[in-house]
């Protein structure tokens, strides 16, 4: 839970920096690397380790930057990120019983898959530039596959980094004691 203005400011600056990085740096990389959806991964990560409120603020900031700089209609990224977070929150609350490493992997990959379906569907319906139905395009499925792999790998790295820094996600086991 964010408690003061400074924390919000730091969050806004960090997400803005990531949005610029995604827009210019990641997009200029060669093909397997340019499929990294850095912002979505970070948003899901924030949702997983902090809460929905902080993730919503982050989605608003990230979406705003991308909407200002890109050529999709204004509000496209803000709403897509937010709907993805809603889905992730729903999965977290209704399907997953804990916040384990496996839960993060499931939520990362499923949100990435949903993001691609949703973004392509919205563009197909509302944009005149996309005339071919995305589900029949090889390129669409390649993008989904690449992004899912990247999400999986980055979830792996981020979870272990978080485990090093924080004590919140340390595993705890019930010790089996002998009464003999």
């Amino acid at each position: 839970m964010l408690k003061n203005v400074w924390q919000i400011l730091i969050l806004v600056v960090a997400i803005s920096f990531l949005a610029l990085l995604q827009f210019s740096f990641v997009s200029s990389l060669p093909n397997p690397f340019r499929q990294i959806n850095l912002l979505l991964i970070i948003l899901v990560f924030i949702l997983f380790f902090l809460d929905f409120r902080v993730a919503s603020i982050s989605a608003l900031v990230a979406g705003f930057w991308l909407d200002v700089m890109s050529f999709n209609f204004f509000g496209f990224y803000i709403i897509i990120f937010f709907i993805c977070l809603l889905l992730a929150e729903w999965i977290l609350k209704n399907w997953l019983t804990n916040r384990s490493f496996y839960s993060l992997l499931v939520i990362m990959v499923s949100t990435t898959f949903f993001y691609n379906i949703l973004a392509a569907a919205v563009l197909y319906i509302f944009s005149t530039d996309y005339t071919v139905f995305f589900l029949w395009q090889k390129n669409f499925w390649l993008t989904v596959a690449y992004q899912s792999i990247w999400s999986f790998l980055l979830a792996l790295i981020l979870f272990n980094l978080a485990a090093l820094i924080s004590k919140r996600i340390k595993p705890s086991f019930l010790e089996k004691k002998s009464f003999m």
């Binding site: 827009f23 990641v26 050529f71 973004a119 499925w141």
Partner: protein
């Protein structure tokens, strides 16, 4: 009414989102958006250049194996080009005389705006071919839809398909639906429309069977589009599909420039 409870993050988000859309729709937030775009343009250019440098080294490594074969082919091509060059010099001298005689306008009587590439829209790549470039100049700099974008050697790389005040989107010649009015430099000056093919090559369809086209012919812009001048090189024909029972023949064109490594482009303003 559970959903309207105080501090509901979904409700707060939707209110802010609605407000942003409203302010954008009525144009109140546009100056702020343009200001943000302008302020962060240099940072965007730097980020894009860094990514592009990585792209260069990655591609260099991948192509090292085929370099020796390319050197051999290029040596042969240099010999042929030397001969062609000497012939061309003679033609240029003759051409200069004819131009002055006919009082032709200067060849480069158009203005040009140089722009830096700041992004390729990769987040919606699955929906298209992910080839479009975003540059840091827009309508505020005199750019309009349909204007040609060329690289530093003057080869056409695409055209403007969308504009904002501070930026513009360019489709590459190899992108699907990036159509250009073109002409083949053959004996009959065949004209047609080129279109991108899978983000790799360019195709030219519906060429009448009677037209004589061959592999190696150069394809240029025909100048029929009102914002693109004639004579900008699109590429060279690498394949001709010609069936005797068909009315039309098709050609596959290869661009003469690597479209993955563009960092600076020039927009031609007629």
């Amino acid at each position: 009414m559970k959903i309207i409870k105080k501090n509901n993050p979904i409700l707060i988000f939707l209110v802010i989102f609605g407000l942003l859309i409203f302010l954008h729709g009525i144009g109140v937030s546009r100056p702020i958006e343009n200001f943000i775009s302008n302020v962060f343009k240099p940072l965007n250019s730097h980020f894009y250049s860094w990514g592009n440098s990585f792209n260069h080294s990655y591609q260099d490594r991948a192509t090292q194996a085929s370099l020796s074969a390319q050197v051999e082919a290029l040596t042969k091509e240099v010999a042929l080009l030397t001969v062609a060059n000497s012939q061309e010099k003679e033609l240029m001298a003759e051409n200069a005389k004819l131009r002055s005689q006919l009082n032709f306008l200067a060849v480069n009587n158009f203005k040009a705006v140089a722009a830096e590439v700041i992004s390729r829209e990769s987040l919606t790549e699955g929906t298209g071919e992910g080839q479009d470039l975003i540059i840091n100049k827009g309508t505020g700099d005199g750019l309009l839809l349909g204007q040609a974008a060329v690289n530093e050697e003057g080869l056409i790389i695409g055209k403007i398909i969308e504009t904002k005040e501070t930026s513009a989107k360019i489709c590459l010649t190899t992108s699907r639906d990036c159509k250009l009015a073109a002409a083949i430099q053959n004996s009959t000056k065949t004209q047609g429309i080129t279109d991108g093919d899978l983000g790799l090559t360019i195709k030219m369809n519906y060429i009448p069977q009677l037209e004589k086209i061959a592999v190696g012919d150069t394809v240029i812009t025909s100048g029929l589009g009102d914002k693109i001048p004639r004579g900008l090189v699109i590429g060279k024909i690498i394949e001709v599909r010609n069936e005797s029972n068909e009315v039309w023949q098709d050609a596959t064109i290869e661009p003469l420039v690597n479209l993955d490594n563009l960092t600076v482009v020039t927009i031609i303003i007629l």
